[in-house]
Symmetry: C2
Subunit: 341 residues, 2 copies
């Protein structure tokens, strides 16, 4: 069982992940600083190897095929080395001045397709839509349990972005508290709502559409931009133009348009920068059953979106110390390269 610990001063939470516990020798360059290489020809996420993962939680599969057998297109399994494990939420514990709680939560892997070599951006638009539909289904199912205050969907592509297996997959972590960064986004959006008298994200989208110089792509329902204060070279954010706090409320036509714009921008990223490692995160308001109680007008102020953060620079001392980022590529330059030619 892992443990959640709170830093007293910053309020940030850390997961001390005993399930993945390591000793100093695991980090020594000679002793395996890099994760062990995958045995060639074997991957637990490939079709045919279903027995090598924990039993599946959900899958989109051909009629007549059974769980944990071939025949699926998108498959969800529990993470074999979970950062958090399901169970009743324990009360907060204290150790002197410090606060902790047992590491309760959900940690699942969404295997995006059976083929090891096809990355998310390489899939057919309808298949990408299916991946996001599965995200919706899993979030809705997990949010029925009110212990889970927030569900984070994210993707690590490439070792430099934190992926330990190369088969294309995303992950889902449900936490028993609303994470600091999500709270900051809620409070920041609330502050800006009072300034602008409208959703800050809607306002930014309107300005970016008018200015054009940071626009990367747009389609029937979505706009992709290189954010004004991009932390990383070629960072992108993808917003639905229809104001909505909850990704789980996106309709079928929106899911299809989201898939279309993601395929377009991920393809352009690959063409422009040469298939870089990246992180992708989906931001939405916390579990609606809870967040509408804590923040009754959150549906007016939050606006779900997808962030894509290429890993092209290193987090260094200045960033650790100050929370500033240094980005050597202005987003206007990035947008110019990322735009459809």
């Amino acid at each position: 069982m892992s443990e959640l610990r709170k830093d007293l001063v910053s309020g940030r939470w850390v997961i001390i992940a005993t399930e993945r516990s390591k000793r100093p020798d695991d980090f020594r360059p000679a002793g395996g600083a890099a994760p062990p290489p995958e045995a060639p020809g074997f991957c637990p996420f490939c079709e045919g190897n279903e027995a090598k993962t924990p039993p599946e939680v959900f899958a989109l599969r051909k009629a007549g095929t059974g769980p944990d057998t071939p025949g699926w297109t998108v498959r969800v399994v529990p993470n074999k080395f979970p950062a958090l494990t399901p169970g009743p939420p324990p009360p907060r514990a204290t150790e002197g001045a410090f606060q902790s709680m047992e590491g309760r939560g959900v940690h699942e892997v969404v295997i995006e397709n059976p083929d090891h070599a096809l990355e998310l951006g390489d899939l057919a638009v309808a298949h990408i839509r299916d991946v996001f539909r599965v995200f919706q289904l899993r979030i809705r199912a997990i949010e029925r349990d009110l212990h889970y205050q927030y569900v984070q969907i994210f993707k690590n592509k490439g070792r430099e972005a934190g992926a330990s297996l190369s088969h294309p997959h995303s992950q889902l972590v449900a936490t028993p508290i609303v994470p600091k960064r999500i709270k900051e986004e809620i409070y920041g959006a609330d502050r800006m709502f009072r300034t602008f008298k409208e959703c800050v994200f809607c306002r930014v989208l309107r300005e970016e559409e008018a200015a054009g110089k940071r626009l990367v792509a747009r389609n029937a329902h979505f706009t992709a931009i290189a954010p004004y204060a991009s932390r990383s070279p070629f960072e992108m954010a993808v917003f639905p133009r229809r104001h909505s706090a909850f990704f789980t409320d996106a309709g079928e036509d929106e899911l299809l348009a989201l898939a279309g714009i993601l395929k377009a921008v991920l393809t352009r990223l690959k063409e422009t920068v040469g298939d870089p490692p990246f992180n992708m995160v989906l931001h939405q308001a916390p579990n609606p059953a809870l967040s509408l109680k804590s923040w009754p007008d959150i549906h007016l102020k939050s606006h779900w979106h997808v962030e894509i953060i290429p890993v092209l620079t290193k987090m260094a001392g200045f960033e650790w110390g100050t929370g500033f980022y240094i980005n050597p590529v202005p987003p206007e330059t990035a947008a110019q390269f990322l735009k459809q030619p």
Copy 2:
């Protein structure tokens, strides 16, 4: 000239560093994703190559030697590719909803010793003390200009930690605003002061001394701990036991004791984990002339310290999305290995 840009929602600032501006091809694996390797036998920070850096700002040197010549022990030069450049602080500019300002500030390199092969922890204790004395002198000199609200001292050791040159050095960046993370630390310390009726750092130190299990080292004036909510395996924090908000107030005996404990813990880190890349940051209260006006009791609530963050895991999507960290080494285990045998 670089540009400071504010993210509307999170309030974080980003430096769009045009002086280091890059094009997509600079990131392509074939086109130089890694920084260009240093030419063997040539290093601008080595003794004898003083002409290869911008003219020195300050140096500790043998009597009779002139600026930008050999004979120094610690040497400070402007960063050749500065993230921020000196000049009068411009007013904030706006572009629609967005805020920016010109990238005004100071960015210096502190070359810790003339010998390429000697890392900070390898130097004699008196030499390490000299490095920290130079930090004090530069901070005091820069803080005379009230435009500079915060001075961040940091060290990136190893490419994975963001170092672009391997010769041991630290850096100093002075910013025209108080960075977000420093503000968070001030507000967090203030909140905890009201809970504990004393400095939160003093309280934590007392508890850690009593518990012992996260103690790494101590000497006459300093205590090194593996923080309760460590973000990274083998993270350490070094605190003066005498309460003080400002590193610049540390006396001669404290500087010597700081050098002694840093040598001890950096040596143990090297022995334990095998010379890992790391970031080191010095946290103190902002420019006293300003911060005592904005936060009149900051000297009671802030407590300067040094953080050492080994780079042994990758920042991944879950961290980006939520601000949580996942740490596979409990600090109690880390302390057990890092303690003097």
